[in-house]
Symmetry: C2
Subunit: 343 residues, 2 copies
């Protein structure tokens, strides 16, 4: 029995649990931990995990894969607490919205005997908590994968396999690149939404404004309902990139303002028309296909995932002996998967 | 047979037609006009109107109710063209997103023998055109009603009746107040969305950004797909209010920026937390109930609407004779509606 441990049973951790359970994994036990006993109890009740473990160190002991799905600022403490308990060749991943700082913590705090592969699902909704978890939360969404420089290729395959089981699109990217890019498409919209809602809500005419508001305001202000701890942690851990994009946004608004103020009708129309055309094109094109995964690499069952988890441990343990590796490949082949060389 | 004429068969005009047809109006014929012959043909094919009329003046002749659902900047020209053709006591309304300028045009251009009651459905979507029309587009949405100072009470009842048939919530409001308020909850989100999309789209890293973007970016940038003519017309006809809210938004973003720049963690967290709490409260409360309409005033069938349209004309025509008015009330009463004094 291979153990997968999910630390942090909120919307993301809970949805991961549900998705992994929905994949009907055989030979895999999903253990959950949350420092909030109520959340842990709720996760058990909702069958998000097979069992919950009240002591963090015990939860990760013997785990083949540990997924840290806590708030960003809690990750450092979690890593410190679990570092001494992780078994050799354990694969550790996370789900944090900023990556450079998490990669740094992992490199400082986790033992060299484990592999860290950072993760960031570009999914979520404005309602937090395990009670809002959904197995389909990640389906069709991009899922960033950022392997540590010393992560084994097998560990990368395990995390990629999980991402595929979730129905998400694996996206390999560097940590700094990731943080700059998500500042534009995720963190800036978050700050805009929060600022828009705060501004309108603080007006003395708020009751009238609320009565008038339609779906435009609802959507534009939706991200204001993002969990405040998440918003705060994102801003602090990705400060420079968020500031950069905020400044550029204010410049862009200034450009619109000038066109409007100076009555440059034609240019104003062109600006709106270009945005409309470009966004319509973007939406019509659907999600871009990048880094396609070859069919033979797709993990299609929990059994294969278990085999991978086992394989990864074996491979690392006996790096110098090819025999066991060949044995695993045989076993995987018998289960209908194309074998593939591991390092 | 009473005639309702819809001028402008786009998303809004088309949806109005579908909603009125869905109400199974008896004794009412819905005529459509669009200067674009293709749109008019499509509207006929989709049965959005009972018939389309290729000549604007002929389309409004003998109409009891004329709904102008063209782009804002086209309304002035439409009013000039139809002014001489409107029959006495005709009720004229519109669906424009800004109201002060439309009320001014109506007062200058329409004959005193007709009643103008401005309208603005707080509904829409980012896909324009009659092919995207939906009978349910207005259901549950606020619908602003702005009667001209000299509009008859009967005309206001006709437009209110239409709004109720659509399933929308009538909201009585002054034109200047309307324009200031919608600048905050509708026009500002529109400009923000367009500027956000334009900014991100213009980045050299756009292919990567597009691959990473999730539902947060999608929703925050949704309004960038608003019809560019509508965005442009809104900004031009509500310039001062849009500029006012744009400036306040830039100030608010500056406040977030300062908190972030100066590392004021606690205040930043509080700001996000307040926005989250307030928005959650706002969403949980649902649409505010304002100006409730008494049950006996609700129009529940097309027959009643036809009676109102007839009644309005009769009432205006023989202001000095009470007899015909009493006759109408009798007739309406027989149909199960509480009679009510008309001016």
């Amino acid at each position: 029995m291979e153990r997968i441990t999910i630390i942090g049973l909120g919307l993301i951790g809970g949805s991961l649990g549900l998705a992994l359970k929905a994949a009907k994994l055989t030979g895999i036990e999903i253990v959950g931990y949350d420092k909030d006993k109520l959340a842990a109890g709720e996760a058990r009740r909702l069958r998000v995990v097979d069992k919950s473990e009240p002591v963090l160190q015990r939860a990760v002991r013997d785990a083949s894969l540990v997924i840290i799905a806590t708030p960003i600022m809690a990750i450092r403490g979690v890593m410190e607490e679990i570092a001494g308990e992780l078994r050799e060749n354990c694969v550790v991943t996370d789900t944090a919205s900023t990556k450079a700082i998490v990669m740094e913590w992992a490199s400082q705090l986790l033992p060299v005997t484990v592999s860290f592969v950072g993760g960031h699902p570009m999914a979520g909704k404005e309602t937090a908590g395990v009670q809002n978890a959904e197995a389909k939360l990640f389906a069709g969404k991009p899922y960033c994968i950022i392997p540590a420089p010393d992560a084994s290729e097998g560990a990368v395959r395990v995390v990629t396999g999980i991402v595929q089981l979730l129905g998400a699109r694996p996206l390999f990217i560097g940590a700094e690149e990731h943080d700059r890019y998500v500042a534009a498409v995720s963190h800036l919209p978050l700050v805009l939404s929060s600022a828009l809602f705060t501004l309108v809500r603080s007006s003395p005419a708020w009751p009238e404004l609320a009565a008038l508001a339609g779906s435009g305001f609802r959507d534009a202000a939706r991200l204001a309902s993002t969990d405040a701890e998440l918003s705060h942690d994102i801003c602090l851990t990705n400060r420079e990139s968020v500031l950069h994009w905020l400044d550029r946004m204010v410049e862009e608004l200034g450009r619109y303002r000038e066109l409007l103020q100076q009555g440059q009708e034609e240019e104003l129309f062109k600006t709106f028309a270009r945005a409309q055309l470009d966004r319509d094109t973007y939406v019509a094109a659907g999600p871009p296909v990048r880094e396609p995964v070859a069919a033979e690499e797709l993990l299609t069952s929990g059994e294969q995932l278990a085999a991978l988890l086992v394989g990864e441990r074996l491979v690392r343990r006996v790096k110098d002996i090819g025999k066991l590796l060949d044995g695993r490949q045989e076993r995987v082949r018998r289960k209908g998967v194309e074998g593939r060389d591991e390092p």
